[in-house]
Symmetry: C2
Subunit: 291 residues, 2 copies
C-alpha cells in the first residue's frame, strides 16, 4: 500500500472541476467565474458547453483568469454502422483535437464508444470484437493528427456496466494494451484518463497503474461509488460518501509518477439539484479531506 | 471464433431453469411441477425457496420427477465485520453444502460477498483488499468440508457493478486465480459458475474460458444484457432481447470441454410480472433459437 506523496489538506491547488459536475446549474462562463472566485485553478469542459459559450470566448475567459484545463471532454465514439459513419467519427475527432488545442488542453479524453446505436436502444450490431477493432483503428487514425499538432490522447476505460453503449474499453489493462500497440515508444502522445469510479473494483488495478507509469497517466478523475447505486449513469457520489478508497488509489497513482490534477467528475441527479455554490464548496472540502 | 458443438435447436434437453426466474409467480413445488410438465430436466433452486417448501419434501419431489439440479444457490457471503460474523458465515456455508448434498446438486454456487453491510447501505469497512482476503480464507475453510462430502464449489464472478455489495470476485481470471491457489491439482473440487450476464464484457473472456477448461467449468448461466439497462440488479433480459453474443460464448465454453446445462437465470421486474407459464415457454423457445 502506497502513501500519498502530495498533501491536499492545506490547499486545493491540485483540484480541477469537470464542468459536467454543475452543468444543470450553470452555463460554462458562469462555471469558470465561480471556479476562479474559489481559486480553483483548472477545469475540464465538455464540447457541448464550449459550443454554447463560444470557443474563442471561452479561450479568452480562461486566459483572463489564468485558468488551466486538466483535459477536454471528449473525443471517441469511433464505432459506426457503416463507412460513412466511421469517417464522420474521425472528422469529429479532428475537430475535437483542434478545439482542445485552442483551449490549451493538456489532452483530449477519449470515451471510445461501443455498439453503434446502442445508446438509443438500437444497436446496429452486437459484436464487441468488431467494436473493439473499430476503436483501435479509430484511435490509430486520430493519433496521426494528434501527433502532428502535439495533443496527447487519453483513453478512458469505462466501467463494464457501460460496455454496450459508451465504451468497449473497460479495464486499465485493456487501455494500456492499446497504448502499447499504437505508441510502443511511450512517446507521451497516447495514454489514459484514469477515473476512480470506472476502475476502483479492478483486482489488477494497482499493478496496472504501476505498468502505466508517468508517461501514460494523463488524467486522474475522482468521485465515489455509492451503496446502493440507483442508476447506471447518473448516481455518482461525492468523494467521501461512498466506498472507494481514494487516498489509497491516489497513493498508487502518485507512486507511478503522476503529479497532475485530481479532477472531480460527478454525474448525479442528487448533486445537480443542489445550488452550484454548495457543490463547488463541497468539492473543495472533500478534495482536502478525503481525496 | 468457436462454433457450438451441441445443437440446441431440436430439443431442450440441456435447458435448466434457475428458480429465481419465476420466484414471484410460484412457490418451488409449483415451479418443479411446471418444469416437469414441459420436460425441462433440471433446475437450480435457491435456499430460501427450498426452506419454504421443505428440504426433504423438495428432494422427494425432484426424485419423483427424475429431475436433476444444475446447481444450488447459494453459498458465499464470507466477509464480515468481526470474528463472530466470519464464523457464522462458515457455519452457514456448511449447512448449504449439506442441503446441496441432500438435493443431489452437482455443485454449490458461491456468491462470495464483499464489503459487509454494504447490501444494507452500511458498509462496516471499505477495504476491498480485506474483503478479498476474507473471501479467500472463507473458501479455503469451506472447501475442506466440501471435499469431505464430495460436493464441488463453484465460484461465481459477479459483474463489477456488484463489487461493493455482493461479490468482490469480479472477473473470471480472478476466480481462476483463486481456484489455482486453493486447488492447484485441478481436482474438480473447486471451479467456477460462469454467468454470461456477469462476464460478457470482459476482453479476456475467451482466453480465460480456455484456461478454465472442463475441470473448472462447473455451471453455465444465461440471460441477456438489455440496452438500456434500467436497474443494477433486476433488469436482466430474456436471451435474444439484448446484446450478448450467446452462441459465440457457448462455442467458447464448449470448446473448453463443457457439456452441462445452460441454466436460465433472469432477475427481472418485467418477467416477474408475466405469467409463469409464458416465462417458461419463452425460455424453451429462446434456448432453442438463440442460446
Amino acid at each position: 500500500m502506497s502513501k500519498v506523496i502530495r498533501s491536499f489538506e492545506a490547499s486545493h491547488q491540485w483540484l480541477s472541476i469537470n464542468t459536467a459536475t454543475v452543468r444543470r446549474q450553470w452555463t460554462l462562463d458562469r462555471i469558470i467565474d465561480e471556479c476562479a472566485r474559489r481559486e480553483i485553478r483548472a477545469i475540464s469542459p465538455w464540447r457541448d458547453q464550449v459550443q454554447a459559450a463560444g470557443l474563442q470566448a471561452t479561450a479568452r475567459q480562461l486566459r483572463a483568469h489564468g485558468m488551466q484545463l486538466s483535459g477536454y471532454c471528449r473525443g471517441g465514439f469511433f464505432p459506426a454502422a457503416d463507412e460513412a459513419g466511421l469517417r464522420a467519427a474521425l472528422d469529429d475527432n479532428r475537430h475535437a483535437i483542434d478545439e482542445a488545442m485552442t483551449l490549451g488542453a493538456p489532452c483530449l479524453v477519449l470515451v471510445v464508444g461501443s455498439l453503434p446505436g446502442a445508446l438509443n436502444g438500437q444497436p446496429a450490431y452486437t459484436s464487441l470484437a468488431r467494436a473493439r477493432s473499430e476503436v483501435r483503428d479509430g484511435i490509430a487514425a486520430t493519433l496521426a493528427h494528434a501527433r502532428q499538432v502535439g495533443l496527447p490522447l487519453a483513453i478512458e476505460p469505462l466501467h463494464p456496466m457501460q460496455a454496450a453503449e459508451r465504451a468497449c474499453v473497460n479495464t486499465l489493462a485493456q487501455a494500456l494494451d492499446l497504448c502499447d500497440e499504437l505508441d510502443p515508444q511511450r512517446s507521451g502522445a497516447l495514454g489514459v484518463a484514469l477515473d476512480a469510479y470506472h476502475v476502483w473494483w479492478d483486482p489488477q488495478l494497482q499493478a496496472q497503474i504501476e505498468r502505466a507509469g508517468r508517461e501514460r497517466l494523463l488524467a486522474y478523475h475522482v468521485c465515489d461509488w455509492l451503496t446502493p447505486t440507483r442508476d447506471l449513469l447518473n448516481d455518482r457520489g461525492m468523494m467521501g460518501d461512498g466506498v472507494i478508497e481514494l487516498r489509497q488509489l491516489r497513493g498508487w497513482v502518485e507512486a507511478a509518477g503522476y503529479r497532475g490534477f485530481a479532477e472531480v467528475e460527478i454525474f448525479s441527479e442528487h448533486w445537480w439539484q443542489r445550488p452550484g455554490e454548495d457543490v463547488l464548496d463541497t468539492c473543495i472540502a472533500r478534495h482536502r479531506s478525503v481525496v
